[in-house]
Amino acid sequence: MSWSANEMMIVASARWLEGERVCFVGVGLPNIAVNLAKRTVSPAMELVYESGVFGAEPARLPLSIGDPTLVTRSTAVTSMYDLFAFYLQAGLIDVGFLQGAQIDKFGNLNTTVIGDYEKPKVRLPGSGGAVEIAINARKVFVIMPQRSRSFVETIDFRTSPGHSGDPEHDAARGWLGNGPSAVVTDLGEYRFDDATGEMTLVNLHPGVTLDQVNENTGWEMRVPADVGETPPPTDEELRLIREELDPDGVYSK
């Protein structure tokens, strides 16, 4: 069976969620990835949405994170203060998903502006809950397509902090989280080096070459000698995406 680049991203992200208990979900690809994980590697996972839902059991694919299907048959609906303070800030969230218009080699993310803040070339949505997720979720996974204009040496605005490049500094921060731990793109899977905090290629997706990674990265990507290949999507993973999670292919085509 063949698959799309987005399907590969969804499947790879879902597998990263194995064994995770509480996940803060964003809309789009993360939403499908998390729901796929719940049907495969992490059936007991609790889905948390910043709109104020704990334990969502969405019966349809929500277009927004405030969709009514997230409420019906959820475990709890909370005020947004409770959600951000008691659940996120107090450390109940194991994994949060972030995306960005720009990311640098240390996992700092920009979702605010392209260009100057006062006179932006492109005004992006801004933080939403991203800065709080980056600091207070125990792990952060980033899921975004890889292009040289988005994987950049220097981001235009640091909306959400990643690693600093100085592991001693990072360890002394005292945050619950400590920068993204994994990045999944349409080309491969990345982790951050323990010693330097720098993004490091772990697996290339099937059919992707190292040249493609380099062409689509604005810095020299760290590539260890033993780069692996992401196991391809299984028939069952593809069936779940195509028949149950995104039958119209809104996000996965």
Binding site: V27, G28, E50, S51, G52, V53, P62, L63, S64, I65, G66, D67, P68, L70, V71, T72, R73, V77, T78, S79, M80, Y81, F84, A85, L88, Q89, T112, Y117, P120, K121, V122, R123, L124, P125, G126, S127, G128, G129, A130, V131, E132, I135, N136, F157, R158, T159, S160, P161, S164, R173, G174, W175
Partner: protein, 298 residues
Amino acid sequence: MRDAVAELVRDGDSVAIEGFTHLICFAAGHEIIRQTKRNLTLCRLTPDVIYDQMVAAGVATKLVFSWLGNPGVGSLHAIRRRIEHDDPAPLEIEEYSHFGMVSRYMAGASNLPFMPIRSYYESDLPKANPRIVPIESPYDGETVYAVPPLNPDVAIIHAQRANEGGDAQIWGLLGCQKEAAFAADRVIVVCEELVGESVIRADPKRTVIPGLIVNAVVVEPKGCHPSYAQGYYDRDNRFYLDWDEIARDPDRLSQWLKEWVFDLSGHADYVQKMGGAAWDRLLPGDAPSGEVNYGEYS
């Protein structure tokens, strides 16, 4: 609605039409546009399509927000034109994160000078907005960030049901409706259904806003469209997708405002103009809550 907006929303006011995706009172936003209010400061976590429409109509000079987009779709094009190109006029912005905005309402509602939160560390947001300030805990010296109270002049809160006194009950996503109402100087409650006091008193746990702080009650069925009211009508995702196309073109946007706001006398016209088939499409199935017994203690 006409009287409530005329009396309680004044030129130059800060206005919060709250609701996180859910219960966003588009009917009130449209009435503010119709009455050509000016120089408003619009506050919301997510400006959403309603503020794109209001900004396009020229009612606002400033926006206070934490996430500026069309949820699940993309950009708010009228607002972007004003920020990126001053087209047709500049728009001042004051930007936070979601937790920052939520905490601002909490401080405002609680009569506190600020709220401390664990956020913004090593982010550029405090540089962009000097009202986000690092402070030291007086107990152990730890650094947290302070955000200032947000006390809008007017909060407009949509609820599923309320009584004539303004006691309002909400179920589904609560957003910051309660916090914004308690923080505001004036409160307009808009409801899908007007109910008797006995209905409110039979289920006091669902009362989010007491009539004590409410200045006006407006009954406006389907007043949230294309946002939604849980259990009453679905979010009209198709409209949110359509808006992306409409708002890209300033002429098309003006034409939309003329057809759907200025040429209508109120929201009842809007509901009728949409037509029965459109409303049938948005009708959800049933998923009633179980009942609890509060007990009789006489």
